[in-house]
Amino acid sequence: METKDILQNLVSGIAIGSTYGLIGLGVVFLWQSIERINFANISSAMLSAYLFYTFYSEIGMGFFISFVLSVGIVALYGLGLRYLIHEPITKRGGGRLEFVVATLMICVLWLNVIIVFYGGLPKPFPPVFGKATDFVRFAGVSLPVVYFYIFLVVAILMAFLHFLLRKTLVGKSLRATAQNKEVAQLMGVNVNLTTSLAFMLSTTVVGIAGILLAPIYFVSLELGGGSIGIKGFSAAVMAGLIDPYGAVVGGILLGIIENFSTLFISSTYRDVISFLILVAVLIFKPKGIFVWSLHRD
């Protein structure tokens, strides 16, 4: 074991982990707003990756426009989830269980839709974040360039979300609604709007994570499947399902732990680790592991 290995694993753990954080953020935004868990949360990642692949590689549009279009469509898909799934279920008196079952089915549905249109084999992700052979070297460590793109995008996204939630009245209303929906309405907050916004934010952040993960996982069904999905849930659960900052930090922690367990134990257990963490946090710290969110009851 050399310091070089440690540094390498640390950086890649942080990079991959921050995308788990984004996936966890998708869970948090929805839970805060409607207290439901969307089991098709991860589908947004797969959808945006395939959309990006279609726009960029198949149609030949530019990077920026492909990115905006894919993420934009996934944001609208969030609205679709609200009005085609959540509202009809609620209107008929359905609760959490019905939403879970419905979204689980949606998750399976999307996997099959993708198989029908794109086949089951992974597609190569275009080298928009550098080629697989592009490395950045410093201090004797060489790191794939894609990690730095991930850092960059996640940092910009977090700065944007921070600004939205902390500095704008819309964001403050969103947080108020998350804390007390009834009273937010008494203040005149249009909860229709904040609920829609929460759905859209939820699918958007996961969609962005999908495009960031595609260079690593390829444009594949794996991006819409259980094992990455569970990593997102683990990150969200570490944040008690309510704390957006906690979800990102939780995801990064998870990424680091995962990498080091691969290094010290075996890569066979990589996915088991996140599952164990999920279960452990649920049992021992169901309100989340971060002190800054603990003064809430």
Binding site: A176, N180, V183, Q185, L186, G188, N190
Partner: protein, 238 residues
Amino acid sequence: MSLLKIRNLAVSYNGIPALKKVSFEINKGEVVSVLGPNGAGKTTLLRAISGLVKCEKESEILYKGKNIVGLQAYKIARMGIAHVPEGRQVFPDLSVQENLEVASVLTSLNRRSGKIQKVYELFQELNSRKNQPAGTLSGGEQQMLAIGRALVSDSELIMVDEPSMGLAPVIISRIFKTLRQIVQEQNLTLLLVEQNAKLSLPLSDRIYVLSQGRIVLSGTVDEVKDSDLIRQMYFARE
């Protein structure tokens, strides 16, 4: 014309009635108190007005002549009805300032900061705690903030649900003094729910007594203050 007029308001929870054909009205500029023991239906009354609970079919709640039954709660709030809920219910993770900002959604942009400033002048305690999360305020400060939120909302009718609940006597008298001051200065209409007649009578023009979901006594303060019911309420709490 009355600002708020309620006719045959009936509410039940799972088939058990909480309000039974309640009728009453409030005129513009009045201070009206609703008194009544635990479980009388006082909170339910305010929640029905705000659109937080469903009313039965025959119920009518006219605000400025318009029936608001069945409207979404946020739309009712936007018509100018502020509701300071029972138990204060500030947004715990929002700062004091943010709580007030969220409540000022309805106020026109250029008047928001002035309105918020006014609340800080009224409640100095809040002024020095602008950036503190509201969940860490004392009970009294939270009640001040809850009332402050109603004041920045630019509402004509303010409904306050048991502001004295769980607070020390000094704080209670402070809060009632401020309520009186607000009503005098700002030409507001106040619907005050209290169990404690001693606190609310000196402030009120008229009162209604609610018991087991019905109005059992109503009138101006002078008319009712010598009735046995009110006397009981006065002394039951000593």
